[in-house]
Amino acid sequence: MNTTKIWEIMKKEWGEVFKNKIVLFAVAFMPILFTVLPLYILYSTQGGGDIAQAFSAAEEMPSEFAAVCGSLTGSDCTQFFLVSQFIILFLMMPIIIPVTIASYSIVGEKTTRTLEPLLATPLTTLELLAGKAFAAVTPALVVTWLSYIVFMVGTSIIASTAVFLKLLEPVWLLAIFGLGPLLSVAGVSIAVMISSRVNDPRIAEQLSSLVVLPLLALFMGQSFGLVTVNETVIIWIALILLVLDAGMLYFATQLFQRETILTRWK
């Protein structure tokens, strides 16, 4: 592995791919939306907004609230319950961003017809894929973590200290710093596998984006009180993803057959 080449590929990818509007949307607009939205909801339920009052008026909290809130009570609990739903948004970013970047960067190489001259250089398939993968994963994680930090700062201003401290609990830290990278790797491997077979970056992106479906299911499940995203759940997901990632990375490199990609594409 020649790290200079991998780094050069990453820089080249960024120079190219960030000039694409769809990629820019995924990398810039989506994180802003996903950060501002929860903050806005926090703001509007401040000091017991409508929803909070409705619930605290009731004698008992809904059971799914209690499961999420732990020691929090009253409007704090309501606020935190709402915010907890958005943990899923912070898990979507590290998957959608790399999927978008990787789809455009691999299929883009076919549409600009640079794939052949590139494969003619003394570059190994692994170096090429590593460069593309890091180019996709790095911005995703930087953006996710930045959004998380902005979200925490915002929460510390808008919500009570108790709610803010909740964001520093292991379940959040594990999700953001543990699951995030694992999800990014999953996104990239799927994008690589699909991009090797497809000639339109939009199709590659849309197909690869289906990986967010399990996350959406989790989101729904939590909203309806079917599951509670706690430490145990996060750790289980992380372990499963670790195994899946290893397998998918392996398959992605196996599927990336230089000759097939070069000759099948016209």
Binding site: E8, K12, K19, R113, P117, T121, P122
Partner: protein, 315 residues
């Protein structure tokens, strides 16, 4: 070893389509070699195999002493290729495109090499511009620069002037001439016969399999002998008869007041022809050689091969 490229029964099939059939050629170092053939002849496929982009389905090949399929890294490091579709990253500047590829080729002095070739190809002043805004000719030149950044021993050029206007074609041809003087081994795929004739030391006429292989001059001679034209004050049947009677003359005919003679070796036999003509009373005003166009040679081989294919189908 003086052979820079050796192929031995090199073959490639795509399904049942035999794109390259048992190609065996030797290309010495420093030669400019032309692969000449119609569309679909297998020229691009051959170049792709020799650059380790696709693997042969039969036979073997060595480039710069390295075996195709075994030492692919070394082959890629030692060759430069102008691919059929010279892709560039349209959103990056010319300079950044070259810098990227230079780093992939592990070039030591990246800025130096970029400047050298951008200047040689007249693109230095436009190095900061996005390649997407370049004309086809400029992109082609940039792609040639890219193929040379790492100073490869062997250069493959797939249709280097196709789609270019005459002026850009001329520039590219002149540039290839310059490279030739620098002693590089160059393989040019083309169906531009004029280009092959002017640039190449030897030409392989090729359509899946090798049809003919020689220097342009020898190819002409091999096919047609050489043709000498005698301009006579009065060209008549008597003169034609005495000339054709000579055993070294393949053919003699009259056309537009000239006597046209086909023979193997004019330098040896012209004096004798001139002597018998003068003896017979001919007044010789001028003697010249008729140069065949390479196109005729090429069409001869290609047509002969498709005729034999058709015959085979009927049999």
């Amino acid at each position: 070893m003086t052979e820079m490229i050796v192929t031995n029964n090199l073959s490639k099939s795509f399904g049942d389509n035999l794109a390259v059939d048992k190609l065996s050629i030797l290309i010495p170092a420093g030669e400019v070699f032309g692969l000449l053939g119609p569309n679909g002849a297998g020229k691009t496929t051959t170049i792709r195999m020799l650059s380790s982009l696709i693997g042969p389905t039969g036979g073997e090949a060595f480039v710069a002493g390295f075996e195709v399929g075994k030492n692919d890294y070394d082959i890629r490091k030692n060759i430069g290729i102008l691919t059929e579709a010279p892709g560039m990253y349209d959103r990056l500047s010319a300079e950044r495109n070259l810098a990227f590829f230079a780093s992939m080729y592990e070039v030591k002095d990246v800025p130096g090499q970029i400047e050298k070739y951008l200047r040689m190809l007249g693109l230095w002043d436009r190095r900061k511009e996005e390649v997407g805004k370049f004309s086809k000719g400029m992109k082609q030149k940039l792609a040639i620069a890219r193929a040379l950044l790492h100073e490869p021993q062997v250069l493959f050029l797939d249709e280097p002037t196709s789609g270019l206007d005459p002026e850009a074609s001329l520039l590219v041809r002149e540039f290839i001439q310059e490279l030739r003087h620098a002693g590089r081994t160059i393989v040019i795929c083309t169906h531009n016969l004029n280009e092959a004739d002017r640039l190449c030391d030897r030409i392989a006429v090729f359509k899946s399999h090798l049809l003919a292989l020689d220097s342009p001059a020898n190819l002409r001679r091999q096919l047609y002998g050489r043709t000498v034209v005698f301009h006579l004050a009065e060209a008549n049947e008597k003169f034609r008869g005495v000339v054709e009677a000579k055993e070294f003359v393949q053919e003699a005919k009259l056309a537009e007041g000239k006597l046209i003679v086909t023979l193997d070796d004019p330098e040896i036999h012209n004096p004798e022809l001139i002597r018998v003509l003068v003896e017979q009373g001919a007044e010789i005003r001028f003697v010249g050689e008729l140069r065949r166009k390479l196109e005729d040679v090429y069409l001869h081989f290609v047509n002969a091969s498709s005729n034999s294919e058709n015959n085979n189908e009927h049999n």
